[in-house]
């Protein structure tokens, strides 16, 4: 499918097949969660917790994604990146990040988020190394990792830079490790 048809598909889904709510509730809820986690854990642990939460979300999110879009298999990792940025993000967060920085072997790329609804009106505390250690939107990394694992792609997803930390852009990097073989879970026949 071409890039343009992805865009029209995602616009169509967004307009017709999605129940919408005000993103402020979402931003506030997420902020509340992160704040509570920061009180209970260290920043490194918060990152892991957020990623784990995202992973659990991603495992279920991908089902809804396929139910709403009815898309088939992607033909290449490049195709996957287009689908993620144009349809996935649009459908769930109403944003379209840009896909850039492809590595030479075509197994890594970056997503640049210029508008992140999770971080509206958020600033990190000045003390306590938050700016050096905390990746505020780390849940997104988990979500992507979970979704991709359900389609047999083992990927590493991590933040490279974040506007909240003072960097100029918010950039996530996705690295494809390997294709997963369909295995029968242990104990099931």
């Amino acid at each position: 499918m071409s890039s343009k048809s992805y865009k029209s598909l995602s616009d169509d889904i967004w307009k017709n097949r999605v129940d919408k709510i005000n993103s402020e509730v979402f931003t506030l809820t997420y902020g509340s969660i992160v704040a509570q986690l920061c009180r209970d854990f260290t920043y490194a642990e918060v990152n892991t917790q957020l990623e784990k939460m995202g992973y659990n979300i991603g495992l279920r999110l991908v089902e809804e994604f396929f139910a709403k879009t009815g898309l088939g298999r992607c033909t290449s990792f490049k195709d996957t990146s287009e689908v993620i940025s144009k349809i996935g993000f649009k459908m769930f967060l109403n944003i379209t990040p840009t896909v850039t920085n492809w590595s030479g072997d075509g197994k890594q790329f970056s997503l640049i988020l210029d508008d992140n609804p999770l971080t509206d009106f958020v600033e990190l505390p000045e003390d306590n190394n938050a700016a050096n250690e905390l990746w505020y939107s780390n849940v997104l990394c988990g979500v992507l990792r979970g979704c991709l694992e359900m389609v047999q792609l083992d990927c590493d997803v991590y933040f490279v830079s974040d506007v909240l930390r003072g960097d100029p852009i918010t950039e996530m990097r996705l690295k494809l490790n390997k294709f997963l073989k369909d295995e029968v879970p242990a104990g099931e026949e």
Partner: protein
């Protein structure tokens, strides 16, 4: 910086399922380190509380702005609600509209207790995709919204304890009633 950003931005919409997924993870997280239903509801309440205390000020500011825009040079200063009924009506309409895009369905005063009021929501958006298993009995995950209400009442200096209860009806299986119990001193103050 964030202080330069416009507070009155155009509404950005998001998928309801994103919120539902996030909420379910939030509940799992709270559940993993709580010892019982009461404890879990308290945790959810606390999470909502921190939202509520900021929310009143934000909504008032926005309402003020909209009133001024509409009133053509007769600047109407936003009211600060200091009486119970007015605050509850404010929550029932403006706050609900801003958070959920609809107004709450009912606002009642309890007939047997002086300090108890009830706000009813027929279809809370948070509970839309949640089904409570039998062994969790009375759990209502809208304890989170109860926390938001509690934060708002506290921020308005009309301290109350707010709890969420499921009162299912035939049409609306997830119908939730928020019981708002105002503190003694608040009731005394009302009488003045």
């Amino acid at each position: 910086s964030i202080y330069d950003k416009n507070l009155f931005r155009n509404n950005h919409d998001i998928n309801l399922s994103s919120l539902s997924f996030l909420f379910s993870e939030m509940i799992s997280l709270s559940q993993s380190n709580s010892k019982g239903i009461q404890h879990l509801e308290k945790k959810l309440n606390n999470l909502g509380y921190s939202i509520g205390i900021k929310y009143l000020e934000l909504i008032n500011l926005r309402e003020n702005y909209i009133n001024n825009l509409n009133s053509n040079k007769n600047y109407v200063n936003g009211r600060r609600e200091i009486r119970i009924i007015e605050l509850l009506q404010f929550i029932h309409t403006k706050v609900w509209k801003s958070l959920f895009g609809k107004i709450a369905n009912n606002l009642e005063k309890s007939s047997d207790k002086l300090n108890e009021y009830m706000i009813t929501d027929d279809e809370p958006i948070f509970s839309k995709f949640i089904s409570i298993p039998k062994d969790f009995g009375d759990l209502n995950c809208c304890a989170f919204v109860a926390g938001i209400i509690e934060g708002i009442t506290d921020s308005a200096y009309l301290q109350a304890t707010v709890t969420a209860h499921t009162v299912a009806s035939a049409e609306f299986p997830t119908r939730t009633v928020y019981l708002i119990n105002f503190n003694e001193d608040v009731i005394k103050r009302e009488k003045l």
